[in-house]
Amino acid sequence: MKLSIEFYGRLKAQFSTKPLELNVAEPDKTDRNTIITIENIYLDLCQSYGCKSEIKIIKPILNDTFAEWNDPVKTNDVIGFFPPASGG
């Protein structure tokens, strides 16, 4: 399945300034245990880019709404990662 991954703030420097287009193997629909979550995607990215995972610090978003780490992803989803805000 195709996924688009967006990084915000300092995560741009750590991962990628531009959105990443990923092609991830479809989960086996006959097996509930193969559901792919935002967390799976994120941890894979951390490993690829040699970044420490920050599950407790980063907020995931899914198609422009706040999401949970264990939300499943499906093809054509846009996944975003928000570091702590630093406006003001």
Partner: protein, 142 residues
């Protein structure tokens, strides 16, 4: 209520949204781009300009929730917050928060609340550009 602005913040227009005849007090906060960065415990670097990046849709959503919460939490009459995004120079206004209330204490508390909540929770990120050519994403200064 809550807005993002790609241009200079229009304080006069924002203040009009907050002013009303039953209010005795008005508190506002303006955040300006300083000529040095704020990293505590680190050497302060001369800042030339900075860039605020936002997730506009969620920034406006979170911002509106903060204003709504403030109107419920504090005995105030009106509140408004505008955050600048894009490229800013030293001396530019980055954020404006204004609150009107019957009494001063609620106005102060609500203004500081909205400011702190905005800094902590509205998806906006600051990238500073220094005199030495380097740049750096800034961590939250809460």
């Amino acid at each position: 209520m809550f807005s993002l602005s790609e241009k200079d913040i229009d304080v006069i227009q924002l203040k009009q949204q907050v002013i009303n005849p039953q209010s005795g007090g008005f508190v506002c906060f303006e955040g300006w781009v300083r000529n040095h960065n704020s990293a505590e415990g680190k050497t302060s670097q001369p800042v030339l300009e900075l860039h605020y990046e936002a997730h506009p849709k969620l920034a406006e959503k979170v911002g509106k929730t903060i204003i709504t919460d403030a109107l419920q939490k504090f005995d105030i009459n009106a509140a408004c917050c505008c955050h600048r995004i894009g490229q800013l120079k030293v001396g530019d206004m980055a954020i404006w928060v204004g609150v009107s209330a019957d009494h001063r204490q609620a106005a102060f508390q609500a203004c500081e609340y909205i400011l702190n909540q905005t800094k902590a929770n509205v998806p906006i990120w600051k990238n500073e550009f220094y005199e030495n050519g380097e740049s750096g994403w800034v961590e939250a200064n809460l």
